[in-house]
Amino acid sequence: GDSVTQTEGLVTLTEGLPVMLNCTYQSTYSPFLFWYVQHLNEAPKLLLKSFTDNKRPEHQGFHATLHKSSSSFHLQKSSAQLSDSALYYCASMSNYNVLYFGSGTKLTVEP
């Protein structure tokens, strides 16, 4: 199956600074990539999904670009907000109905 690597377990930022969370993947096929966000004591929710036509998905100020050459789908935001503090998961799907999640990155945004 696919595998997803998120190298940063913990990221701490000051409010207003840019955010970049790393995600690389391994897959035999060309998978769809996703970012899910999980706030404290809540269920995970979809944040972004890659497009097949190389468009850059954006949501709530976050964006991510799928780079097939480097097998990456890094999550970015130009200016972090306190409310962005959460657990972020990158996920890959090349086989319909099976989604592989990375280990997650806990983002803490401080004032």
């Binding site: 899910y36 269920a43 995970p44 979809l46 998961y89 996920a91 099976v98 989604l99 999640f101 280990s103």
Partner: protein
């Protein structure tokens, strides 16, 4: 609007005892259904998925089983719990086709095995 309800919210069980967790989806006909397991502080691991009533596919073997007795219901169970079964169990649904992967999760069931 679609709603997803999981029960129970939390369970404390003894090693070797049976377990049954449930999930009901309302407002969506024939959804794809999933069970995920999340160890404390860990990642989300897919356990099962079901595309239609009566059919369930296993993704990983963890001495658990799943069933879909009705279109809107997904059950996770085992006859004998292990300590390693502790964690958070999440049910999710999605539309099929190109929307597969866009999961909508329930609030989860916390399981503690002692």
């Amino acid at each position: 609007a679609q709603t997803i309800h999981q029960w129970p919210v939390a369970e404390i069980k003894a090693v070797g005892s049976p377990l049954s967790l449930g999930c009901t989806i309302k407002g969506k006909s024939s959804p794809n259904l999933y069970w995920y397991w999340q160890a404390t502080g860990g990642t989300l691991q897919q356990l099962f998925y079901s595309i239609t009533v009566g059919q369930v596919e296993s993704v990983v073997q963890l001495n658990l089983s799943a069933s879909r007795p009705k279109d809107d219901q997904f059950i996770l169970s085992t006859e004998k719990l292990l300590l390693s079964h502790s964690g958070f169990y999440l049910c999710a649904w999605s539309l099929g086709g190109a929307n597969t992967g866009q999961l909508y999760f329930g609030e989860g069931s916390k399981l503690t095995v002692l």
